[in-house]
């Protein structure tokens, strides 16, 4: 794999020298912009070699948190250490070890993909720039379009150029702000494949996303932000465990309301909601699904039931009380 190949004699950047093995250490960060509190006492740690997903609806503070980690925004309160360094010191050495894909892509769209990458190579002092540009273009599958002007690229292709730029200097920490925003399904899966290859290469990645399936598919840990506050942070599996198990009860629609009212009072039921097939019930981890089915059958006919783990959409709804993200 290209990512794992030492480049021009340089070692791979995975050996981060942070004492505690944290690539990112955000502690009690608050950010105020005028009268708006964009982040409110957020603490977040990202272990080296893992992929951390930050999810939340628009305006939750995801991009602000990314900007804080990059050093573009100084927090009103709290501290941020990245790769063992205080971000506030604005160190050139630290910036050289970060690879960032901003939400806006931020490409010079009047020039070619190669010219964009050559310029970025100069900014980061990448040795043997032409060879490295060829490598990253190949990595993102754009070698054939290297000499085309970026303005003519689709959204997905522009994202891939921006990812290539973020990878150009072999960063120790890769920060991807909504890497699949506005791209089609095919491009989305290509980008997922790139991110998986980064994780396989042991690289630390912090990404924000509006898509819970994306976080579930890519991330070792997920942090959920809502209105500037960290609602939860855990592995996708453990987050799902917090929500309990999901029990889907198929019953005739006229009985749904009665059944929901009856189960809402059950001590093992965390939450119940109507669905087109009948009722979806979230039950505590220590509650036996059979008990709930028995209780339900006392109220109405239950044609069938299915017991499964909740997905991240359901976790998000459970933890934030908000409708699912798109």
């Amino acid at each position: 794999m290209l990512l794992n190949k030492p480049l021009n004699g340089r070692s791979l950047p995975n050996a981060v020298s942070s004492e505690c093995g944290l690539a990112v250490d955000v502690r009690h960060v608050t950010c105020n912009f005028g009268g708006v509190r964009a982040l409110d006492g957020v603490s977040l740690q990202v272990v080296q070699g893992t992929v951390m997903g930050i999810v939340g609806p628009n305006g939750a503070g995801k991009t602000t948190l990314i900007d804080v980690i990059c050093g573009l925004v100084h927090p009103s309160e709290g501290s941020v250490r990245v790769l063992g360094e205080d971000v506030g010191a604005n160190s050139v050495a630290l910036r050289a070890r970060l690879g960032v894909l901003p939400q806006e892509t931020a490409l010079y769209d009047e020039v070619t993909a190669r010219q964009n990458l050559r310029f970025a190579a100069a900014l980061y002092g990448v040795p043997h720039a032409d060879a490295r540009v060829d490598e990253v273009l190949e990595l993102v599958g754009l070698s054939a379009r290297a000499r085309d002007v970026v303005r003519g690229f689709s959204g997905g292709m522009q994202r891939r150029v921006a990812i290539a730029r973020a990878l150009l200097h072999d960063p120790s920490l890769l920060i991807l702000d909504e890497p699949t925003l506005g791209v089609d399904v095919e491009a989305r899966h290509q980008i997922w494949a790139h991110i998986r290859s980064l994780r396989a290469g042991g690289r630390t990645v912090v990404l924000t996303t509006n898509y819970l399936d994306e976080a579930e598919a890519l991330c070792d840990r997920v942090a959920i932000l809502r209105a500037g506050k960290l609602v939860a942070e855990d592995t996708p599996t453990d987050l799902a465990a917090r929500t309990g198990r999901c029990l889907e009860l198929e019953c005739p629609p006229p009985n749904t309301a009665n059944l929901r009212a009856a189960l809402d009072g059950h001590s093992g039921v965390l939450r119940a909601e109507a669905a087109d097939f009948g009722l979806r019930v979230y039950i505590a981890a220590d509650t036996a699904p059979e008990d709930i089915v028995r209780a339900a059958r006392k109220v109405c006919r239950v044609d069938s039931f299915r017991n499964r783990s909740p997905d991240l959409v359901e976790v998000f709804r459970s933890l934030t009380g908000e409708p699912a993200l798109p």
Binding site: R95, D109, F119, Y124
Partner: protein, 366 residues
């Protein structure tokens, strides 16, 4: 070495971006020539106002009077016409006025009879009327002096301050170079920085370990080079088309270089403040004309009153016009010595460059 590489990378990128915006850049550069044309038209306007001369007399005194009229100070282009042609032309807007020397003019003058000269004027603006009111009495006095008519006891004896006269258009076109520098370098400088916000690439520059100041210097260097090239064409046009050759070429080159540097940097600031090329371009155009007119471009500013003269000192164009008029025509149009104007221009160039590269290169963390 790394700084040189960064400078070159910035310059290379800017050159590629300007190439991709070829027509915008070409039309901006065309402004260099269009401003020369503009000031030339300004100089021509009213300076050659067509006035019909109808001579119904044909005698020796009428010829002498016409010579006096030609020699008087005015902005007329006298045209001999018949009464019918003149009337038609006046009503169709192709004449400013009609001067009619009546039949019997020579005989009446010889007999000592005062002869009325009929003048019809299209008084579309008072400037035209004033010109007639100045020119005809002057011609009449000159005519009377020439023929020793009694009663004329005064004559003008002119002593010029400068050894040579300078035509109004040659005076104007030289100052247009400063206007060219302001508009072209300003717009290209603004475009260079505003595009960083339009493309959102300013964020990437701040995130990179490179010195944004060096990158910006490379990018602005190319913008300045393009502006200087456009200015070079305007300079060649002044020399070869208008026939105005600088008597102090090095002062000319230095002044133009300083103007390009100053206005590229000022443009970069405007672009960084407004963050949009579309907003920066009309603002720079809008600012250019008042600064230009107030700079002594039309005549030395010191003739226009203390307030205007003091305000003019705020603009680099004032010092540039001061040097350029001296460098091309040997004129001193500012009370300050030429070397002071040169030093002020150099100081402004250094300060604006230092402020631009220093301040704009710093990250703006929120």
């Amino acid at each position: 070495m790394r700084a040189v590489r960064l400078f070159c990378a910035g310059a290379e990128l800017e050159a590629a971006q300007l190439r991709s915006n070829f027509w915008f850049v070409a039309l901006t550069a065309l402004a260099a020539v269009s401003f020369l044309v503009m000031v030339s038209l300004f100089g021509l306007t009213g300076a050659y106002a067509p006035v019909a001369l109808i001579n119904l007399d044909g005698g020796p005194y009428s010829q002498s009077f016409i010579e006096a009229l030609n020699g008087a100070h005015h902005s007329f282009a006298l045209k001999y016409m018949s009464a019918e042609e003149a009337e038609t032309a006046l009503h169709s807007g192709r004449l400013v006025g009609i001067i009619t020397i009546p039949a019997g003019f020579s005989a009446d003058v010889a007999r000592g009879i005062t002869v009325p000269i009929d003048v019809r004027i299209d008084n579309v603006n008072v400037d035209m009327t004033n010109d007639v009111q100045r020119a005809l009495p002057a011609a009449i006095v000159a005519f009377g002096k020439r023929h020793n008519f009694p009663g004329v006891r005064v004559e003008m004896v002119e002593h010029d301050v400068l050894p040579h006269d300078t035509g109004y258009i040659p005076y104007l076109v030289v100052s247009a170079l400063a206007l060219d520098a302001m508009v072209i370098a300003g717009i290209l400088g603004a475009m260079t920085t505003a595009r960083e916000w339009e493309n959102k690439t300013v964020k990437m520059l701040r995130l990179s370990p490179a010195s944004s100041g060096v990158v910006l210097a490379g990018k602005l260097g190319v913008a300045a080079l393009v502006a200087a090239t456009a200015l070079g064409f305007a300079l060649l046009a002044i020399i070869f088309v208008y026939g105005v050759v600088p008597v102090a070429p090095w002062a000319t080159v230095f002044t133009l270089a300083a103007c390009v540097a100053i206005f590229t940097c000022i443009g970069a600031w405007v672009g960084a403040l407004l963050k949009r090329t579309l907003a920066a371009v009309p603002l720079l155009f809008g600012l250019a004309m008042p600064f230009y007119v107030d700079s002594g471009a039309l005549e030395p500013t010191r003739f226009d009153g203390e307030a205007i003269w003091i305000i003019a000192h705020l603009s680099p164009v004032y010092y540039a016009v001061g040097v350029l008029e001296w460098a091309f025509h040997g004129l001193h149009v500012t009370p300050e010595p030429i070397y002071v104007n040169l030093l002020v221009l150099a100081a402004i160039a250094i300060v604006t460059a230092a402020l631009t590269l220093g301040r704009l290169s710093k990250g703006e963390a929120r």
